[in-house]
């Protein structure tokens, strides 16, 4: 039976085509498509949705209550396609394109949206969105649509962008440690260094051992953006971004600010204020250090501290995490990098044009505020349980639990507030909300927000930040002198950086 599966899929797609053709006929007669909510279920349209990075879980089939719930409300039955666990999603998606096996609507990754746009495989959505996905169209700010337009040659909208209207990441600090060493929240870099020294020398975790790591990050220089941010370097999880320096948009990795930040970190490293293993920390090691009350200052997502706190509190019952306002460095204007819009979230391949209206209807369902709660929790017993005091508790992801499709990627301050209240115990609400309040003060949306990946074409080493990472790490650990930075800048420019910069500046002309 198995070998007929692909034939069945073909049949389904054909019938999908016919149905969609019927639907668009309807809408011509008077926008009848959205009127039939929950009603005439005879004409279910099947839509293949590609989304990667779904995590652990099984793929829902058509009898899945989540799928059915969505189908009841939209007349669209979604069929989730996701790269198998452990595969390289970018490769998987390339293979789909190569074999003409594109889904009806997809979440592009690894710059594949540009491949499709440039090779004529993407469907322009300018006319379709306002009519068939009004909730999407209206809830995403016009500014974001402009950025999307800027990323294609012809200025059309080829994808629905991700929008994250609040800062997502923040410098974090152990408030209880700050108090334990009798300091205040640092205001200047000097204060910060003094505080880190106190962390190093005064045993804030109280175990009698000098095992504290005042601040730390991860391999490739990831998750140590707070140290770059002090010097006004646009940085996203350790990858230099593009922002305006000296009046022009530039790669933050080659700026004077970067040089200063690296020099600063080199000092921290030498003084053992920066974890000497910082560039060797794999994710689990880094997390274990934080969990085990070894780290005073780090960079991560406030919405995510819950499990860490739980671990810390097994040893340190008073553990308290706060966001650290960026300390002032003289001559530099520090900021926490925010990328809030423009990253591609959903696009429709041209080949799936016939199903486009149904796809958009599905997408619109998730952007409809009425379905917010459903979008967050899914189905009771399958995705969440009623916990004590009537709160819904999301069940942990596991291999046998069906995944559920979520398509809305729009986060506002209210969303975040809800999320905090839903996921944290009540006594921690204020703590997490405070973090967002603090980081809000330092947050800045960078000029390069929404930059299309196509600017890097032909320069994989520029795109992968290889040169930067090599130079930055080796200077910080003291293996190369700081002057090596200047050689690197020259080399970066010569090996394609200049070309990429030109492309970025052209792009920036269009959006600004």
């Amino acid at each position: 039976m198995k070998k007929f599966v692909h034939k069945r899929a073909m049949l389904l797609m054909m019938s999908g085509l016919l149905l969609a053709a019927g639907c668009s006929g309807n809408s011509g007669g008077g926008s009848g498509t959205s009127g039939g909510e929950g009603g005439e279920t005879e004409g279910l349209t099947k839509i293949q949705v590609f989304k990667s990075h779904m995590g652990v879980g099984s793929i829902p089939d058509s009898s899945n209550p989540h799928v059915q719930y969505v189908a009841e409300h939209t007349g669209v039955e979604y069929e989730l396609i996701t790269p198998p666990p452990g595969s390289e999603p970018a490769e998987y998606i390339n293979m789909m394109i190569a074999s003409d096996d594109l889904p009806d609507i997809m979440r592009p990754i690894g710059g594949v949206e540009q491949t499709l746009i440039q090779q004529g495989g993407a469907l322009p959505l300018d006319d379709l969105l306002p009519e068939h996905a009004p909730n999407v169209w209206n809830s995403i700010p016009e500014e974001a649509w402009d950025i999307v337009r800027s990323s294609s040659e012809d200025g059309k909208i080829y994808y629905v962008p991700k929008v994250f209207l609040i800062p997502e990441r923040s410098p974090l600090i152990r408030q209880d440690w700050v108090e334990a060493v009798g300091h205040d929240m640092p205001e200047t870099v000097d204060d910060y260094v003094e505080l880190l020294k106190a962390f190093r020398d005064e045993d804030p975790n109280g175990n009698g051992k000098a095992d504290e790591l005042p601040t730390t990050g991860r391999e490739f220089g990831r998750w140590m953006d707070h140290l770059f941010a002090i010097y006004g370097v646009a940085m996203w999880e350790g990858y230099p971004e593009w922002d305006v320096y000296d009046g022009e948009i530039q790669y933050a990795g080659i700026t004077e600010n970067m040089r200063a930040a690296i020099e600063f970190m080199r000092m921290l490293y030498e003084e053992k204020l920066l974890d000497n293993e910082t560039f060797l920390n794999k994710g689990d090691v880094w997390q274990a250090k934080i969990n085990n009350n070894l780290v005073g200052s780090w960079y991560h997502m406030p919405a995510n501290v819950r499990d860490r706190l739980a671990a810390m509190r097994t040893q340190a019952p008073d553990a308290y995490i706060a966001a650290m306002p960026l300390p002032q460095a003289e001559g530099y204007e520090g900021f926490v990098t925010v990328k809030s819009m423009g990253e591609p979230e959903w696009m429709i391949p041209k080949a799936a044009e016939a199903n486009a209206i149904a796809s958009l209807k599905l997408l619109d369902f998730f952007y409809n505020p009425e379905h917010d709660e459903f979008g967050r929790y899914g189905i009771e017993g399958m995705h969440y349980e009623m916990g004590e005091n009537g709160r819904k508790v999301i069940l942990p992801p596991e291999d046998s639990r069906p995944l559920r499709l979520g398509m809305r990627n729009l986060t506002t301050a209210e969303d975040m507030e809800l999320r905090i209240e839903e996921t944290f115990p009540e006594e921690d609400w204020q703590m997490v909300k405070d973090m967002y309040e603090v980081v809000e003060q330092d947050a800045k949306r960078i000029a390069g927000d929404g930059l299309p990946a196509s600017v890097y074409q032909g320069f994989p080493d520029i795109q992968s930040h290889k040169l930067f990472q090599e130079t930055m790490t080796r200077i910080i650990i003291g293996e190369r002198p700081i002057e090596a930075f200047d050689d690197y800048v020259a080399q970066w420019k010569a090996s394609g950086g200049d070309t990429v910069t030109e492309r970025v500046q052209e792009w920036y002309e269009k959006v600004k």
Binding site: N291, E398, S400
Partner: protein, 289 residues
């Protein structure tokens, strides 16, 4: 003859070295085993070494009750058994003519086959070829495209070539044809090499991952390794959505440890079983029969 002092010293050092080295090879698995029986917080905090901390069977209960995992286990056993059998059959059939001098084109065929070891087909054309054959989403896609491993083929062929020529001369006089020489004379003499190559194939099939990623879309057909990988990929990117409130006695770290053990131990057990074919003089013994 009694062992000299030199030989005794050597023996002692040999044992010492082998035991210490073997211990280092056992340790990672013991560590994973300990992790799989530890509490999630202890596991995430790296407190576990070779003994569980805050002992719990949470992860194991979860793994062993997971129907999907058992199904994948079944799939993997199936492709391992069927695949190894088919691979052995076709490798032997291919190796035999290539070991015969009277097979006139063997040099050219051999050359062409070895060439494919060096020149690898790019992934996309390979994918498209298998897809055109209608194997998408079928377990055959996990078996047929890797039916013959050139490495294994060469091993078998080399062994066949080393068999004494007198054997088939006498067989020919008895009027045996090639099929009979192969199956009634060569194979019984090749137990050790056949055991080795079967093991290579079986382990290969057991670890099938890359082809499964390419060709299997239906998760009911996922082999074990695909399930396993879902725990091996870094969950960091998912962290933002990956939130839950209840208190559980397992998490991804402990599940990962338990799943690795679950997916590895069965195939590890195959080798000790095959070792009986590696007894000294296996070849000679059968010659004398």
């Amino acid at each position: 003859m009694k062992p000299t002092i030199g030989e005794k010293t050597f023996q002692a050092f040999n044992y010492l070295f082998l035991i210490v080295a073997a211990a280092t090879m056992l340790m990672p698995l013991l560590h994973l085993l300990a992790m799989s029986f530890s509490s999630p917080i202890a596991a995430d905090s790296k407190e576990v070494f070779l003994w569980p901390v805050e002992f719990t069977t949470g992860a194991w209960t979860h793994v062993l009750q997971n129907a999907g995992l058992w199904r994948s286990f079944g799939i993997t056993v199936y492709i391992t058994v069927v695949g190894t059998a088919l691979s052995m059959l076709f490798s032997i059939l291919t190796a035999y003519p290539l070991s015969r001098k009277e097979f006139l084109i063997r040099k050219y065929v051999m050359f062409a086959i070895v060439l494919t070891m060096i020149f690898n087909a790019p992934m996309i054309p390979f994918f498209l070829t298998v897809r055109e054959l209608g194997m998408m989403n079928s377990l055959w896609a996990l078996i047929i495209p890797g039916l013959i491993g050139t490495f294994n083929l060469v091993i078998i062929r080399t062994f066949f070539m080393g068999l004494p020529k007198e054997l088939d001369d006498s067989a020919r006089i008895d009027g045996c044809n090639d099929f009979r020489i192969l199956f009634q004379i060569y194979l019984p003499l090749s137990k050790a090499v056949m055991a080795t190559v079967s093991l290579f194939y079986a382990v290969g099939y057991w670890n099938t991952f890359q082809r499964a990623v390419l060709f299997i879309r239906d998760q009911d057909l996922y082999p074990l390794q695909m399930k396993l990988r879902s725990y091996l990929v870094s969950p960091e990117e998912l962290a933002a959505v990956n939130m839950f409130l209840g208190d559980y006695d397992f998490n991804t770290t402990t599940l990962k440890a338990a799943t690795i053990i679950f997916a590895t131990v069965p195939i590890i057990l195959v080798y000790p079983y095959l070792q009986k074919y590696f007894v000294k003089g296996a070849l000679l013994g059968s010659l004398k029969e």
